[in-house]
Symmetry: D2
Subunit: 157 residues, 4 copies
């Protein structure tokens, strides 16, 4: 695919961070963006634990793991208090943004902007803000570790 700038996410709240996070704020870091829903089995079993592993394995100076709660179904069941309980019980330490809805229903904004097909979706953004990978489904740890390091290594000195 042609390189293109990653679109800015649009969220209406954050967990696990004191300040709003944006592409400009994270400039210079590789971003691993995990779009998930707290009641999506593939997210719970595979992607969310992987997001936590990436958060634990790499230096915070090099890699920023961002969870993005992209609720597009069962909206009543996945409001902010539910997400907070989920993050607490699963001991998630990475920042999680809540993807913004036009009117509390339907597909949220960032999910639309990125043309995501569902959850989980993994997005890698390099230190210059370019979108480098977008994958619907699960990526193997070995491949992901290599991809993230490759992006770290190409950062401008």
């Amino acid at each position: 695919m042609k390189l293109r700038l990653a679109p800015q996410w649009d969220v209406d709240g954050w967990l696990n961070t004191d300040r709003p996070l944006s592409l400009p704020v994270l400039k210079g870091k590789v971003i691993a963006l995990y779009a998930f829903q707290m009641l999506c089995p593939g997210c719970i079993h595979n992607s969310v634990p992987q997001a936590q592993r990436v958060h634990d394995a790499f230096s915070r100076d090099d890699v920023a793991v961002i969870g993005l709660h992209t609720v597009f179904e069962h909206h009543e069941a996945m409001r902010r208090p539910a997400l907070e309980a989920f993050a607490h019980e699963f001991r998630l330490g990475f920042p999680i943004g809540i993807d913004r809805h036009e009117n509390g229903e339907g597909m949220p904004r960032t999910m639309k902007t990125y043309n995501m097909q569902g959850t989980p979706t993994l997005v890698l953004i390099d230190g210059s803000g370019m979108l480098r990978k977008q994958k619907f489904g699960h990526e193997h740890d070995l491949v992901l570790g290599a991809e993230i390091m490759s992006l770290i290594r190409e950062k401008p000195e």
Copy 2:
């Protein structure tokens, strides 16, 4: 432990069944009762999938799997619509009762009656309504399969 009659559960709603289920209704069947919370990691990863396996492996004439949603924390996050979304997404087919709260908070009634220490808790009840096993945490499939069959086999002809 001394044999004793299993106390009746006390729920204020059901999923996956058209009629309320009770000990008298299930008399003659072995009951595998799974107390769980939808946001409890040990429940999601181990006990709830096992409940579904038991539901699939044994004849409905011999064994009744009953889920019991015993919410004692994060009440706002685990109301009925959330549980319905969870059961739908994880494709749960067994009946699930919602343990009754005095006032919408705290430890629910059946959990108290059974003196449960937390979730997940597995309870086995024989065809005569006697409480035969209560375990906080996970039981291995091999042992559980044997225990259930042992109770099936002792049913009065």
Copy 3:
């Protein structure tokens, strides 16, 4: 299938037992016979660990786990010293018989007698010596636990 007497195995050596084991010696116990090869991936990953779990979970008075090393390929690689090293390294505690070859090659005798299609194969024999189950491949723990207990429970008093 029609019930039939389990054929006697024919081995030319044992590990993990001081005396030769046979159907008459084990009469009254349920026998879980695991035909395996030490270099068969499905055996190493699934069946041999399950055999050890069965050996650990049930009373020795009720259930006898018997390994049967049915080498039908790579004969040079799976002679007795190799099997001994394997059993030691994988900490196997159940008795293992070495299926007898006519002339050191080809398919061994017990494997032929039972018409086994390959490894792993699981055989269940009841306390009366009847062949009750024969399965090529892996059986789930939940089902196996139930089947073994069912055979235990039908033992003549």
Copy 4:
């Protein structure tokens, strides 16, 4: 640790390669060297499958996976024909060298040269032949993927 040149391995035979492989032959590639024994449970369950995953995930131009069969116990059980059967049954595609013994027993030469403590041991060597990592036990895929890519990226252009 201080950087030092990786010692040359010393083997008396190869599987899965038509020509002997050495550090000079592989110069310019990152080498993932897996010391293992075919009857070591940790090797069979974790390291050998990981070696195959690394072999499959990276370009052969960038990374050379080398198995090293470092037999230091149960020598009779792990001679070349046994190793060939093992590699065949587990569908291993990467080259495997057989670590040389002084007299057919004891700890083999390369294992001694590298001061390995046991199996499995993972060694990473960079494109310049420097020893960059040596770990007794298992490494997580995410970390390993990152480490390998880091070494690839520092290769002289």
